[in-house]
């Protein structure tokens, strides 16, 4: 990947934007329901994410990764523990956040561009500013020409890209992604992973990225947090020391093999994998 291939920001628009938020959690736990029937979904876990850090959360299904994301965004209240965002305790859903789920969750009755502009309509933000940002995001995400198409006219990969654009157009300080590429084919996944990283490198928002894919976690993050089976606890934390932007074929780097090996070992120890 050389400089010539890296996309340039469009002239006349700022890339600096809002700096990333920091997240600090101590002993956060989540119980759904109450009494004997309560489902202990997560924790207690401690979490520290620095501003502008790209952190992945990897773990088996049902371990509480998605719950972590809901807690951090304030969309679900913590049952126990302390959670601070940007140094302030979290009491309500944060609005300065962009969320992407595995399902694109676009409105079928709006075009791609209008889906993204929903942020402007609901938040009451400046229309021309967000229009400019949306156009730029569409360009950076390879969605040019798709602006006036409806979701059912787009491929799965494009729908997810629109979903990502929607999560970024209002310039949030935090991006939360819950297995955003899980429903995409392998080739699209690799491409969109690269596109996401390129986009992130321009603005360096704080990202909490949840995935099942070890390659994706290592390929995108500054740090990978490994979670055990539910109720999830953090069992390992790996700092990824690979150059950015990350190459698509990580196999060329021996460090990748080490990191991957470490995660596989944990999974085997936790009983997630059984290799004969």
């Amino acid at each position: 990947m050389n400089d010539a291939m890296r996309p340039r920001p469009v002239q006349g628009t700022t890339t600096a934007g809002v700096p990333g938020a920091s997240i600090s959690a101590r002993g956060i736990t989540k119980l759904y329901g109450s009494g004997d029937g309560a489902h202990h979904a997560l924790g207690p876990i401690d979490l520290d994410i620095a501003p502008g850090e790209f952190v992945s959360l990897i773990g088996p299904s049902g371990c509480g990764k998605s719950t972590t994301m809901l807690l951090v965004s304030g969309l679900e209240p913590v049952t126990d523990g302390e959670l601070d965002v940007d140094g302030r305790p979290l009491t309500a859903p944060i609005s300065d956040v962009g969320i992407v789920f595995q399902d694109h969750l676009l409105l079928e009755f709006r075009t791609a561009l209008k889906n993204v502009m929903l942020q402007q309509e609901i938040r009451g933000l400046d229309r021309s500013l967000l229009q400019k940002r949306a156009t730029r995001l569409f360009k950076e995400l390879g969605l040019e020409g798709a602006e006036n198409r409806y979701p059912w006219q787009l491929s799965g990969g494009m729908r997810q890209r629109v979903s990502i654009a929607r999560a970024l157009v209002h310039d949030p300080s935090m991006l939360l992604m819950d297995e955003p590429f899980g429903a995409l084919d392998a080739i699209t996944r690799t491409q969109i992973r690269h596109d996401l990283e390129m986009l992130w490198l321009e603005t360096r928002k704080t990202v909490l990225f949840i995935t099942h894919s070890i390659e994706e976690a290592i390929g995108l993050s500054d740090r990978v947090l490994v979670m055990s089976n539910g109720p999830g606890k953090l069992v390992d934390e790996i700092s990824i020391d690979l150059p950015r932007p990350r190459p698509a074929h990580l196999g060329a780097y021996p460090e990748f093999a080490r990191y991957a090996r470490r995660i596989y070992d944990i999974f085997e120890k936790l009983g997630i994998y059984h290799f004969k």
Partner: protein
Amino acid sequence: MSGATTTMTGAVGAGHASGEPGRLLAWLSPAVAVFAFLALWELLNRAFEVPVWLLPKPTDFLARLAIDFPMILGHAWATSRTIALGFLLGVLVSVPLALLIVSIGALERGLYPVIVFLNIMPKTIIGPILLVWFGLGPLMAVMVVFLMSFFPILVDSMSGFRAIDPRLAYITRSMGASEWQAFRYIRLPAAMPHIFAGMKIGIVKAVEGVVIAEFIASNEGLGFMIMRASSFMDMTLLFSGLIAAALVALIFNGLLLATERILMPWARHHHQ
């Protein structure tokens, strides 16, 4: 971003037989079929010399339709007015009620069995009760139309309002959307196809209901005209009335489809 653009070309929208030839054929085939059906009817009637008091020929009742057109039109207009009033009332009451019921869990749990029962029950059997309450005249027919159209619209609207993915609710909450914004931008447009589906059923039931109501309780309208024709054994007029009623239903259905196209332009090419 070559990877991104190649995925786009493979994804263009759902195929449909578009263009003028396709559209013309769509109109032509049913028209030809109807014509063939009527022609066959005519032929068989003549061949077997079926008496007019048993089964009139198409030429008989179509001629009658032309001859008595002003009168039939007058009755058709009265019936249409009744349908429009009752149906509109049905929509205005059932859609907000559907939203209310779906929004309050306890209400939904409590009312749901009642709604299902009332939906299944033939509304026309309470005709006599309505006759007592509202007396003779078009008002009773309006009430019947209201009851017949209310329930399908309510049930389908409820399913439309329920159909929102909870994770989409997370996204809109993170946008800071108020209840009103969530309703206006997301829930109502998402429920529209369901509401229209309910309305299409409702209009058919409305036409059924109005004719029967007018049989027993009115002094105008197609139902009244049909009833009177029946009592005089005026078969050609009776059949003309039936055709007129069917045409009224067709026109209302067409109005619904047109409204749907205006309100939901995105649905035009999308086969859901």
